[in-house]
Amino acid sequence: MSDIIQAKPFSLTEALDREAMASMAPSQAELMEELRVKPKPGWTSRLPPSLAAFVTNPKGMAGVVILLALVLFSVFGPMMSDYNPNRRAGKPHVAPGYEHVLGTTRMGKDVFTQLAYGGRISLTVGFGAGIAAALIGLAIGISAGYFGGRVDDVLTFFVNVILVLPGLPLIIVIATLVEQASPLVIGVVLALTGWGWPARTIRTQTLTLRTREFVLSAELMGERKWRIVLKEIFPNMLSFFVGGLVLGTIAAILAEAALEFIGLGDPNAVTWGTMLFWAQSNMALQSGAWWEIWPPAFAIMVTGAALVLVNFAVDEITNPQLKAGRKISLIRKFLKRRGRSADVF
């Protein structure tokens, strides 16, 4: 999706701050106010730098908060409901109201309960497949990048084959191999077909890291290779790993929903995808029962949006130049007010 490009360690804001401080005289507090630079380092400064960068990133935090809300909703939502998601709870297509907060399906099942239970499964499958794909990608990417040579050739070949294979149709064929494509099966299939992208990115990153001083010095000191991989390379891959994880999770959640929506999932399982499938098969929209289709659709869209926000933050951490963009308009104003050209940016 988004190409992550290695950036030079350079922070525009820092440089500008320094320049601004040096060249102008007004009170420091005013200036800091204008540039929205906090006078004292906050509590975040005590966190490890990459985590601090994440925590101070509004987009990323917004995404995390939304995701947390979704997780909490799926964990505790079912407890707020007396209904069984698999059982009829009322008359068919009851509109949202006191008895059924989000109405009932054509089969009389409670939409709210289904949405909460469905969230458990859909989020688990999505994150599970995303994490698994990212882990496979990490292992293969680091191995290929670090060991190089024959190992790299063979692994890169498989990475490229995986990238070249037609995704969704192949997943559909595999899903029909097992009799019942339960969410677990779908998750496993998605994990096994989804590691191509992270493997590719991480291999590229490893290649650049391999020639860095700290890796070379560790090698000269006679460290074992797997220790170097774990101690020196892996920590630097963390943000790329998280990026791969986030993108993989988005892909897995969308693919699961798509598979189940076209009827290849297990209709017994209550997930957001099967809820959509049932709403579509029982012609919920045509019958005017918008409440059967909107909640799962909305849940999938919000999840996707939240993950995208997290991905923005990850992108900005792996690539600090992107982050600079956030403050640039403040700086522009700052310079303009002082009659200086803002064109350099």
């Binding site: 559909i172 191999l177 076209i262 995208v308 926000l309």
Partner: protein
């Protein structure tokens, strides 16, 4: 040249692996077309006839023999005969379906790539300003909305409720295919909603990709130099930055061809569009092996060809690669 040859070797090897996988994976699927056909007779066949039909649709020879035969027919580009749309050669069905999928995906990619990249350039140039901070997240979030939902809602709103657009088909059935305005108009009319639904979930990716690459390039020496020379803003933006930023975009475009062609399946299913995905779905349900294989092969090949083209484009646009 060496670079291209190396890539070519990879493509040949990848193609072979893909061909082999495409052969074995569908074979593992349980069932063959006969059971469904027998069922349709509702007991009007006697035992001998049932047996004869089962045999006539069954596959003969060992798996190895079948594989060798399959390799031979792939080499001759002979995809066999469809059992579901009998006696249509699979190749002609594939061609028919692929044509319509290409219409959908082609138009959608075209607009998504152009509009997405233009928005990305604009966002990068004005990073941190209103457009960037509002539209970049929104466009990328659209990207994470599942095609199923977007297609369904468009279909419901504009086809079923408002009846502005037709339900299904690639063109008005009373028109004979041809290169006249009426026919092309009808094709575009029928493709509008499916294209829109693919477009909506894909242009955000190009936007973000272009923006991120552009931002990285803006601080490169050659850009600063170009500015210092006093070149016009426009010229720097397009000739210097965008031109370089487009390379990785083209690479990801090539890699996403398979994803998009395959992913059109859901859209085609919702809009009843006679594309490759729609046929594939039916073929899988009725165990039309030759079609499933042909389709997987076609998708793999199109991805490989797209990648080869992107390699060539990279060589042309990036002189450094010509030496390596």
């Amino acid at each position: 040249m060496v670079f291209l040859l190396r890539r070519l070797a990879f493509y040949v090897a990848a193609l072979f692996v893909a061909i082999t996988l495409n052969f074995f994976i569908p074979r593992l699927m349980p069932g063959d077309p006969s059971a469904r056909i027998i069922a349709s007779f509702q007991g009007r066949l006697n035992e001998a006839q049932v047996e004869a039909i089962r045999k006539s649709y069954g596959l003969t020879g060992s798996l190895w023999e079948q594989y060798v035969t399959y390799l031979g027919s792939v080499a001759r580009l002979d995809f066999g005969i469809s059992t579901v749309q009998f006696p249509e050669p699979t190749a002609s069905l594939l061609f028919y379906g692929a044509t319509w999928t290409l219409v959908l995906v082609g138009i959608a990619i075209f607009f998504a790539f152009i509009i997405g990249s233009m928005m990305g350039i604009h966002a990068a140039w004005n990073r941190g300003r209103f457009f960037d901070s509002v539209f970049t997240p929104i466009n990328v979030m659209l990207n994470a909305f599942t095609p199923a939902v977007v297609a369904l809602l468009l279909f419901y709103a504009f086809s079923l409720q408002l009846k502005w657009f037709p339900l299904g088909r690639a063109h008005d059935p009373s028109l004979m295919p041809g290169f006249d305005l009426q026919f092309i108009g009808s094709v575009l009319y029928h493709a509008t909603l499916p294209v829109l639904s693919i477009f909506l979930v894909s242009f955000g990716g190009w936007h973000l990709g272009m923006r991120n690459v552009m931002i990285n390039l803006l601080n490169e020496d050659f850009v600063i130099l170009a500015r210092a020379k006093g070149l016009s803003d426009r010229r720097v933006r397009y000739r210097y930055v965008a031109r370089n930023a487009i390379l990785p975009q083209i690479t990801s475009l090539a890699l996403s061809v398979g994803f998009l062609l395959g992913g059109a399946l859901v859209t085609e299913q919702v809009f009843n569009y006679p594309g490759l995905g729609k046929f594939t779905f039916t073929a899988i349900q009725s165990r039309d092996f030759s079609f499933i294989q042909g389709q997987l092969l076609l998708l793999t090949m199109s991805v490989l060809v797209a990648n080869l083209l992107s390699d060539i484009a990279n060589v042309i646009l990036d002189p450094r690669l010509r030496k390596g």
